[in-house]
Subunit: 641 residues, 2 copies
């Protein structure tokens, strides 16, 4: 056995014993050391870099590390095996993709207003936000030798009288605590629960009054976002987000499905999302709002089909294997207790419905929030997550499809890509003459760049193309101080040199990255094209294009059109609507009517399978250029003269 | 830290580290070493004897250990503190009271016939044994690219068609396993569940067929008994019993309530009965019947009020403290999952209803099985458990009361007392002239005596009185080889000398034991007397006396009358009905009608509080003689001339 020491940039260390031949990335996983491995450790992504500080590692050759970098000690964790005591540096960048939890500051009222407006809009479209949760103060007669009614009957009688219900259901957890709470409160208590017809389901009895809460969670493949809200008023109480803890088992759904299929894999993936991601988020929100977790009486989760299968610990393998059968579209529901969620054990967990293996609850919830179903005009809804999903239609019909754009929009598969979090370059312009960049970085003033998030990559590629620095194929065709080439002649554009970056590693975009991104944007455009064609329509019919997703704080629509990702139509028609999946989950968490509405929307959505569509492959190949092989489709996009 | 070694008679040892000053009994508890402490370790019962083999213990003085015994190394664990490395012998007798689990041999068909007769009798009285559990074989269409219905909808459609129901509820645990089971079974599977009106609640999907089971459990303060039965036929599949694991926290309910009130106590007591008692019993029964625990779809527990509060982890302190308020009489039910019971997680756990703090579900279930409610004649039902509970009435009315007889009937509070298990003397006769005893021992041929169980004590006291060896006050008045006295002059009758016993310790009954037992029998008789008087009746109205409880394989009614425990009426009127609490639980586990019937019985039972009844104390004092101060009440009981 050898000692393996992981040293972090903040000076902390984690030491683990390992056998000779053990894989360094797997050791890191077992020791809960966060090292991103979007490719799940097969050597293809090159993200899992660590730096050898002392000792030796037995390493596979890799093209991701230059000879110079290797001499400096850089290694890929996934290709390294233990051959003695060793100490490695885990750079902060190693877990930039897998970002830390962040609780939003609600003090400006801006976030609160967003959700207030959503509630108003959805209500105006006819979906009530009323629910049947109730809180009531009860003053019971204290028992005496002449009045020896047991506690449960005593509170049942009082609730029947106070609420006019015929029966009261007292779940196990509630009854277990009843004797103590009644006596602590001197038989004067607050009861909270849900009225269902003539029955009242008691959920909590407490000596004092406290808010009744709901939680909404958007589980993305990369990022998880959540809000805590007051069940009665809909007011936002807290908001938080973090990376999905499953990311160390692969950046995309396919790698995670493979991982969950291994012995103990389902439990492992479920633990990664529940114990390491959702529960810390829920606890942080409760702390921030000053409420106990047992006051969360209802939860809604919106997520893609694979994510909700992995959350629930349901085998996702049939989702991946032909004929692609999920265990469920519409989940009948379970209790927070079943999933060990940090909430009231009897809280219902609502899952936004899937409509296929690759169009899941994130989309149905997103469509609810988008109000596409309430419009007369033809509207296209695009969700840029780790995959791209589209819904097209109006109040009369809806069609959906999914394209495997890959994780590029969230910074995956890109050498300096990262999530839209502190240190990410989110917007770029380039001076055509000097070729020098100007950019905006997420974070506090003075933040140095760490990498590029999706919106920054769109801007950068658009600007490189506009300035004639890259060709329609994405190859470098101008030379300059910012354009560099490696030993094989592969060009790259350097946004920040080693000295200018936050990490000591250059922030750049190379031809391999550009190629990845062009394939991603090509997948989106060809999906739009193919779906409209299948309806004998083209992009001219589009009245609205709603773009959702965690691609950055926004997206420069002009640039997205310029690179041929979105159709070249009036820019006024585009709208960035943010995280619509979370917004839909928020509505469903508060409102049984919104939940029912979403089931209805899901049932009415036609699913178009692109992978077997004969025209899709051709459309995709044609779209893998800047802006497109058919330039007539993009009259406004071309390099400046 | 010192090493404390517990050595057992079979040669095994358990070693635990302990700090100086640690209490030996508490160490034994923490190491799961079974040492009986009916008094919960306050030094009063003298049961927790261990023998010092090496090292020293720092011991409190005690009258329970003679100087001679002390010189041999005997100590009370509860009064011993650690002052160095030490090895003690834990004699088998130390856990005789807390007996090991025993699985019944059903091969003779005798046990099966008992429950068949019960089912026939209860059915004849109008309670149906039908239930809505169903098992059905399903052949589903395997999914294809043209038929991509998700698994849950696929099985739902099939169940709707097969059973003619409108909705199918699929609980979490079932859905989680669905994908795998369907594919393992090639979409040909067996589905089991419960029909509730137009809804079918799916509980299990499996590739093969297996029995649908129910479990019934009688949780006595001292002994726990259980049966496993086929839900559809009612046939007994297994039967088992063991000591209640809570016994190390006190022999009676009062000591256990005090113990559960300490920090962490509720969890500790709940664990002792569930993890250490019920789950091993359930698993042993499943093993014996060859079925998986997940095939137990319904459970019923019958137990006294304190036991069901402790089982459920509900604070029992208000049960003990004036005004004696339980958390519930009728429990709304919970799932096996809530209690971590070894059964299907979604199995309903039915709790036989309590009617007061001291008349619980063991009595209501017992009354159901006794069929008292179906008789025209006045019938008295007596349950001799750790406490004594009585129900008197017929099809028109029922009255119940409880008396704190203490644990004497189950061998508690008696120096050589033990449960009715291997080595227990269960029947005794004495030759009036020679004063020599003849006795019957539970166990295989050649079993030497270990102690006395309840029925043996009744016989022995009756015989000692009949032979004039003891006075009506229970004091020794004849001398002889079998009658010995200690240094204080306290007399005892020796049934087995050190050489004749199985343990090397004399089996005897002394004046202190006799006094304890006289108080116990006095409590029973005075309760009968007081209850009948409160109705302006006396014992002449009794047509039937049904005696239930685990007092032994039976009870010599004549002897019980002779000592003044039961009224002196025609012996033909007495019937020993065994464990009626378990029998009632069996009926309730199988039949929702029996469950409803029991709730009805409970609601109709009047409770007579004896402790505040002005006549009870006088009646009790008058009954604390052999057979009674008023000998006219017992014309057939007197010493032989």
């Amino acid at each position: 056995m050898f000692d393996v020491t992981f040293q972090f940039e903040n000076g902390q260390t984690t030491v683990i014993s390992a056998q000779e031949g053990a894989n360094l990335l797997e050791l890191a996983r077992s020791a809960n050391v966060a090292i991103d491995a979007p490719c799940s450790g097969n050597g293809s992504c090159g993200k899992c870099r660590v730096k050898l500080l002392s000792g030796q590692l037995d390493c596979l050759p890799t093209s991701h590390i230059t000879a110079e970098e290797a001499a400096d000690g850089w290694r890929l964790a996934c290709g390294s095996r233990i051959c003695g005591d060793v100490t490695v540096l885990v750079p902060d960048i190693a877990s930039a993709y897998q970002s830390r939890m962040k609780t939003a500051d609600l003090s400006s009222g801006q976030e609160i207003a967003i959700f207030e407006k959503l509630m108003a809009d959805v209500s105006a479209a006819g979906v009530s936000f009323a629910n049947d949760f109730v809180q009531v103060e009860l003053t019971l007669d204290a028992p005496t030798l002449d009045d020896t009614m047991p506690d449960n009957e005593r509170i049942t009688r009082a609730l029947e009288a106070a609420l006019g219900v015929e029966t009261v259901a007292i779940p196990y957890d509630c009854l277990v605590r009843l004797a103590q709470v009644l006596r602590e409160g001197n038989f004067r208590v607050w009861a909270a629960g849900e009225r269902k017809g003539n029955t009242f389901r008691l959920l909590d009895v407490s000596a004092g009054q406290a808010p009744l809460c709901a939680a909404a969670i958007d589980i993305g493949t990369t990022t998880v976002s959540a809000v805590l809200t007051d069940l009665k008023t809909g007011r936002l109480l807290a908001k938080a987000s973090s990376g999905n803890g499953q990311i160390r088992y692969g950046a995309d759904v396919i790698n995670r499905i493979i991982e969950q299929g291994k012995p103990g894999g389902r439990r492992k993936l479920q633990k990664a999302v529940i114990d390491e991601t959702l529960n810390p988020l829920l606890r942080a929100m409760c702390r921030s709002a000053g409420v106990g977790k047992e006051r969360i009486f209802r939860l809604c989760v919106a997520s893609n089909t694979t994510m909700n299968h992995l959350l629930l610990g349901v085998d996702a393998d049939p989702v991946r294997m032909e004929p692609y059968i999920p265990s469920f579209f519409r989940w009948q529901g379970c209790k927070a207790r079943d999933l060990h969620l940090a909430a009231h054990g009897d809280a219902d967990v609502v899952i936004a419905p899937n409509i296929g293996s690759y169009v899941g609850g994130d989309i149905t919830a997103g469509v609810l929030a988008s109000l596409l179903w309430d419009r007369d005009e033809f509207t296209l809804f695009i969700d840029l997550g780790t995959n791209g999903e589209l819904v097209f239609g109006n109040r009369d019909f809806m069609m959906s499809c999914a394209c495997s754009a890959g994780p590029a929009f969230e910074g995956g598969d890109i050498s300096c890509g990262m999530r839209a979090t502190d240190g990410a370059i989110e917007a770029v312009t380039i001076d055509r003459d000097t070729m020098e960049p100007t950019f905006r970085i997420i974070g506090e003033a003075g933040q140095k760049p760490v990498g590029l998030c999706g919106s920054g990559i769109i801007d950068l590629i658009s600007e490189l193309f506009r300035c004639g620095i890259i060709s329609p194929k994405g190859q470098f065709q101008r030379e300059g101080a910012r354009v560099r080439r490696d030993a094989h002649g592969t060009g790259r554009y350097v946004l920040a040199t080693e000295d200018e970056s936050a990490t000591g590693r250059e922030v750049s975009l190379d031809e391999v990255d550009i190629d990845s991104f062009i394939r991603a944007k090509g997948a989106i455009f060809s999906a739009i094209d193919t779906m409209l064609r299948s309806l004998d329509m083209d992009v001219t019919v589009l009245d609205h294009v709603l773009v959702a997703g965690g691609i950055g704080s926004g997206i420069n629509m002009k640039n997205a059109v310029n690179i041929g990702m979105f159709p070249d139509i009036d820019l006024e028609k585009f709208e960035y609507i943010g995280n619509s999946s979370l917004a839909g989950a928020y509505a469903m968490a508060l409102s049984p009517s919104a939940e029912e509405k979403t089931y209805g929307l899901a049932a009415n959505m036609t699913y178009l399978e692109l992978s077997t569509n004969p025209g899709y492959m051709d459309a995709f190949v044609a779209a893998c250029f800047l802006p497109h092989t058919n330039t007539a489709l993009f009259p406004n996009s071309h390099p400046e003269a």
